[in-house]
Symmetry: C2
Subunit: 464 residues, 2 copies
């Protein structure tokens, strides 16, 4: 193997590379850019070197040349009508061990669902062979569905969670991976047995992830207290200490998720008026915090989230399929400039698809509009698409790297094919008169993973 | 061809036939029967001749013999673990011409959506080649998704609607097909130009369908006033007259679908206090009436629906993706013994899948539980499954023929395969310890058309 070439194409996947055709991405929450006859050049390092609009095919060679490459021999992929590029989806809340329990136990309220369905299932990840098999299926399944970045909760097992991180690295998915901390309110057969062990395992887990991906090129450890109910003060304090020592570490937890959860948290931590104060006290609310659900958040707490620059992971499917129908005030978060992304919460919901999550985000925003008598208008599809891409990147503090096709960012992208074929027969057929926006709308509303023909992470094709 | 054999297997599809394995169907709204090691024998006429429980493989030949067939040579299909039979899905509200506009225009309130998105689209069915192509794709698409019976609105064009019926017959889908009556509040380029023409075309359409399927073996004409807003008194009276002359004809319309629609109806028909009185006056509320949506139905109207034995087509997707979030009081309908089925309302919603409709029925029932502070408890998955099968059959007055696997009914069934393969990689994986009920739950919550391996209508395999 010629090392020079290997260095020039570090992932061995045909980079550099260019695309010509329709390119669709979000510039801001309410600003969708649809580029017709666009051209995008991806460098050998997987970064976007050029993004141009209204490029005729005759102009392609000139742009290749301008970018410093040799025309004619440079690989350019031409997208046909009905095909377009969009940014990869970002799943800001995902319990990887729940891959094999998706949809089971819907209708149970949170603590029942944890004890009856989830804990017995997650406990199986003690078995590392089971973990390998299930996480391989999980990561492939999410990549196939266009999730180029996921923020994963592992199980409480640090060994299995290391396997999850290794599989992400091997399959080429960008991921935050956390060993789940939980040392109480869970059965003895599925919890960290002491606070010390919980923290020690976490430190060891972080060190392992830094070792396997020293550049944080794809995989980053994330602090993952399950939620305050399952952590003693010692564990929360220990994690806060790690966060202070490592200000680059992201943090994730569940936040004001359900009435039952909020009540129990207050009983366990009577010294705090609310969850914002609780997690802030333990140094767990930073601009790198990803807070899942955020249903019942009052004026004061919203102020803290904004001030501390925390991100909200909106999980509209699990919010409406547990024992109760709950709507997070997403319009209000957006109005205040609080960061918001989408989470499949696969396991807690039923679907592992961000496309489903976008549709459900749209539906629950209609509910919120009705419930607030119009004060909180519905989300548009453009806004839902933003949440699934650039919004998610902001929540993960990765918007300098991914989320849209700004020059200089890494190329995490999906190649969407909407033409009806034997394989892809369910999507709404494209009609002669359909604009690119209608084609995009048909994909969002009626497409699925079969319409995601290629998935790229850092320029590398990873579709499995 | 040997005519004797042809008569014995009238549809040329390998009947008679038996299945052995897990069989799941509804006996009543809250009664799901899961038959382990079941055996079902389907006769040459497509009817169920035997349904047996707990049959060991050694007993199969005895049952074949009992049913009057020759053991050993009789074809028995053995279902493996992870596979089961369930009744075909019944879609009680489906606008076939909207197949190619699914998902488009979501967020618009009803009259805007009709004028901007739907009418221009439906007008294309004037072109019979377009109709042939689009309806072929539509009927195949629905069959593929397990919809063995659909109640279709056609466009206003009787010719195109005849083509739809012919395609259903050719592809083997059981269907109600209606030429849509609409002679006002629609643009000149897309409406019946006179009441006389509207009625005359309808009579001609009915005669044609009776000619092509004289036994009503699969295709039945259905009276289809779009809704009162689009019909003058003359048209409603003319349709009511046809209904009186033909008491076997089913009838479908939209009923109390949206606040805007109800207001306009009251302006156009000030002589009626409500829509129940209006449609009843015109002889359009009978036990064969399928009323779509039924969102805002008061005590009086509920009484009429019950008394007149009308059926409700619940369309939870379109009810929540138009400009407003609306929840039909399904629990209350069930409590009163009013017939309820599910509709994809594909076009008005975004999905052509009854599986999606079941999930959304579950979700909006959670909303209704919250909105009524627990008075109307959520639907269980069992109830949602009932709505998609036996409930739909009741709404169509076809429950003597289809909807479950009662001996004597016609065999409309789906063969569900849940094993994860390259093709079917999104469904929640089945675990060793999963019961048949959990496998069924995983299919309902995370499966899609890829898990519907075979579709049978009247015993004939029709999967396309």
């Amino acid at each position: 193997m010629d090392l020079t070439t290997a260095e020039a194409t570090p992932q061995g996947s045909g980079l550099p590379l260019a695309f010509h055709g329709t390119i669709i991405h979000s510039l801001d929450v309410d600003e969708l850019e649809i580029i017709e006859d666009g051209m995008i050049v991806v460098g050998a390092d997987g970064k976007i070197e050029a993004l141009r609009k209204n490029v005729s095919k005759g102009e392609v060679n000139g742009i290749v040349s301008e970018a410093g490459y040799t025309p004619d021999v440079f690989p350019v992929k031409y997208l046909k009508r009905g095909e377009f590029l969009c940014p990869g989806f970002i799943d800001t809340h995902n319990h990887a061990p729940q891959w094999a329990q998706r949809g089971v136990g819907r209708g149970l309220v949170i603590m029942d669902w944890l004890n009856k369905t989830t804990f017995p299932h997650e406990a199986k990840f003690e078995d590392l062979e089971y973990a390998k098999r299930t996480y391989a299926s999980c990561v492939s399944g999410f990549l196939k569905q266009g999730i180029t970045t996921a923020s994963y909760y592992g199980s409480k097992h640090s060994q299995a969670s290391k396997i999850l991180a290794e599989i992400c690295l091997e399959k080429g998915q960008r991921a935050y991976v956390g060993k789940c901390n939980m040392n109480r309110n869970a059965p003895d057969w599925y919890r960290d047995l002491t606070a010390e062990a919980s923290i020690k395992e976490t430190r060891d887990f972080i060190a392992h992830l830094r070792k396997i991906d020293p550049e944080k090129s794809l995989v980053t450890p994330i602090l993952t207290p399950r939620f305050a109910i399952s952590c003693t003060h010692d564990v929360l304090a220990g994690l806060g200490k790690i966060a202070k020592e490592n200000p680059d570490l992201p943090i994730q937890t569940h936040f004001n998720e359900a009435e039952q959860e909020i009540e129990i948290t207050k009983e366990l931590f009577p010294e705090f008026k609310n969850e914002a104060d609780l997690y802030e006290h333990f140094n767990l609310l930073t601009e790198r915090s990803i807070l899942a659900h955020c249903i019942f958040v009052d004026e004061y707490e919203m102020g803290r989230l904004k001030e501390l620059k925390c991100g909200v992971s909106h999980c509209p499917i699990s919010n409406t399929t547990g024992g109760v129908f709950m709507v997070a005030p997403i319009r209000e978060y957006l109005r205040r400039g609080i960061k918001v992304g989408l989470g499949t919460d696969s396991g807690g919901g039923y679907s592992s698809s961000i496309i489903d999550a976008m549709r459900q985000a749209f539906i629950v925003s209609n509910a919120q509009q009705t419930l607030t008598k119009g004060k909180d208008p519905s989300l548009s599809l453009k806004e839902c698409f933003f949440l699934a891409t650039l919004g998610g990147a902001q929540v993960c503090c990765l918007d300098d790297k991914i989320g849209n096709f700004t020059v200089g960012k890494e190329f995490d992208a999906l190649e969407i094919h909407t033409e009806v074929t034997e394989q892809r027969s369910i999507i709404t057929p494209i009609e002669d008169e359909d604009s690119s926006e209608i084609i995009w709308e048909k994909f969002l509303m009626s497409g699925d993973d079969r319409n995601i023909a290629k998935v790229y992470v850092k320029g590398k094709s990873v579709k499995v």
